[in-house]
């Protein structure tokens, strides 16, 4: 249950940081997504049953600070978490090879899904230009930041589940 108690305020702060501090690192039309980095990192180190509630909570909080329909980021995060769970077994928080390519692909999955949801909500989304002008710059910054976030989330996982984390060393 500690995962939920810690997760709620933690994800709330991450959502707010996405809307404030992370906007300072804008490149072209894209901005990094701390929430996506957290979701990918958590999916890589934690069990699916722990990662899914975070995906839903984090997605809803992110959407509350966005014009996107509430729940659209949650759907995207849940799908990303499921895909990561299918492809990778749990990895050690010392692993530096897997997180960067994973966040790159996850950024595109997330971006494309958000384009779809925004179109559904009636927003005019420049689909093809958006691929390189909005998603690519955001993905590049996400790749640069993922290792820091991954280590941090790995540390949180170690704190919450010390026994399981030690098995992955």
């Amino acid at each position: 249950m500690a995962i939920y108690y810690i997760g709620f305020p933690f994800l709330m702060i991450v959502a707010v940081l996405d809307a404030t501090f992370m906007q300072l690192f804008r490149l072209w039309g894209g901005a990094p997504s701390l929430m996506l980095m957290v979701m990918v990192s958590w999916a890589l180190v934690a069990d699916l049953e722990d990662a899914l509630p975070w995906a839903v909570m984090g997605g809803v909080m992110r959407d509350l600070l966005s014009v996107a329909p509430t729940g659209s980021s949650a759907v995207a995060f849940v799908i990303i978490v499921i895909i990561i769970d299918r492809i990778f077994p749990k990895i050690s928080w010392h692993n530096i090879a897997i997180p960067p390519p994973t966040i790159l692909v996850a950024s595109y999955i997330y971006g494309l899904m958000m384009f779809g949801f925004l179109r559904l909500a009636g927003w005019d989304v420049p689909f093809f230009n958006g691929l390189w002008y909005i998603i690519l710059p955001g993905a590049v910054i996400n790749v640069m930041g993922i290792l820091v976030v991954f280590r941090l989330i790995g540390g949180v996982n170690n704190f919450l589940r010390p026994q399981r984390a030690s098995m992955l060393r």
Binding site: M12, R26, L48, D63, L65, V67, V75, F115, W123, P126
Partner: protein
Amino acid sequence: MIGNRSPRAVAIGSALFISIMLVILSLLGTLAPAESLGRVPLTFLENIFGSLSGSLDSTANNIAEIRSLRTRNQELEEALADYQAELADLREIRSDYDRLIALLNYTTQTPADFRYVTADVIGRDTAGVVRTLHLDKGTRDGVAAGDPVVTELGLVGRVVKVSATGCEVLLITDSNSAVNARIQNKNRDVGTVRGTLSGDLLLTFVDPDAQIGVGNLVLTSGEGQNFPADLIIGQVTGVSLSDDELFQQASIRSLVDFSRLEFVLIVINWEPVDLSVFDNSTTDNGSNP
């Protein structure tokens, strides 16, 4: 039946079901009260973090911009001298104008009649695709969806979402934004200012015979009643023909630096004229010639 399924399958099914239901309810508008309530604590936190990140951003920019500010200051001082002379002429014209409108009993709402609420910029849209600002004023301050947002330098955008303590503003630089505009040239030609993916402004649908000059001011026309008339949008920086060569288009430079806005003014007493009745009558006329 659920008892036979693995906990993983149940977790996946539940997470997907909850998320998809949220999207559907949000699109239907059923979640609006809950969304408004949910935004309150997030807006509170955003207010704190927004001012911190704003200070950080200003400090970094201040250091980096000293050199460019010196050059800019020089340019502005020269421009000020020109404008002071122009201002004297305009004051004379204004005084004539005031007398004439009094004679004609012509009443209209001008920017001087607007009631403003000053709001701090506390964040930006997290989806990244749409250019919006989060402000720290909401319904309890009199803000409503559709309210125009300005600064002393010109038009910023329009409120699209509002909660009790905060609101979200669609910037005119977003590609979803379209503002009916008038060019301050001899013929006062009209067009539509659209945002672009890169965040620039483009004046489109201008008559191909219109004489647009670099430096012409572009103001809101008030047509369509999306925005009040005579709000400054920006200045023409370049003119070209549209791809199909049916219209002229012009790139516009707003004096507002949208990436570094710290506070804005929300016009809370502007009421657009309801034009929907004319749409219905047009349809009726069309179906019954």
